[in-house]
Amino acid sequence: MKSVAVSPEIQQEVYAKTTFGFWVYIMTDCILFATLFATFAVLHGNTFGGPGGKELFSLPFVLAETLILLTSSFTCGLALLAMHRAAKQQVMFWLLVTFVLGALFLALELHEFTNLVHEGNSWRRSAFLSSFFTLVGTHGLHITAGLLWIAVLGVRLVRRGFSAATVRGLTLFSLFWHFLDVVWIFIFTIVYLLGAVSI
């Protein structure tokens, strides 16, 4: 294995800069979600004579989704802690749990989407549903990207162990995954809970 003669201080500096760069990306992604939330907030009453959130959404179903995603955020943190202990088997285990929970969340979301479309309540039905599908769908796309990322990290971990790139990847992935859970808190609150309260 090729060893690079760089002092730990410089490595630490580069590592901190990479993390910060990724943090800035996450902040811009927050702005993307802010525009989608603003669109939804403006259009949530424009149901065009069709059903609103109260008629369409099942709260127990969405609570299940929320708890699954929250748990996967937690297990992702456990994977990161195991990485700091350099316990490869445990990292693999917690990454697998995170992946399964994330996939389950995505399956539930797709199930909800297909049900809505089959009942004739697709994004073409009203401005409210257009903004709903755009907001929740964009989050779902991020989750899909996250699942692909876990798969790639898992393969790299098996083949190369804790290389600098894998460690960096795991750290950035955990930021991304926690961020997606934070966005979901607001989708859960603003789209589903407030939807059940108002209109």
């Binding site: 910060f20 902040m27 603003a38 929250l70 955020s73 937690f74 808190i185």
Partner: protein
Amino acid sequence: MSERAPHQQPALQVREAARGSLTTYVTGFSLSLVLTLIAYMAVSRQLLSKDILVGTIIILAVAQLVVQMVFFLHLGSESKPRWNITAFLFMLMVLSILVFGSLWIMHNLNYHMHGAPGMQTDQYIMQDEGVHL
């Protein structure tokens, strides 16, 4: 290729404060769970009047944002200069302008058009376009 020992991996030597511990993750997870369930119960049982309920669940969501930022994303535990939190606060400012600005402008637009909220604007558009449901 053999696994290297932890002390030979510079990339693993992150400052203790910036990476959290089992305690911080368990605390963050438990608090998030409690806040989510309280918000859910408040809405499903409809215990409060509508305005108070809306305020309560928004406060609960913001509380959970703070919990996850501190315990999962370790915001605020970095050393100076604190660029992460600076970027975060700037993002919050842009986010507020976007969301509250949009709501404010669109509310005024609805008001000036027909003195009506969004749903009545729908009625108007439907009449105008000859849509019958």
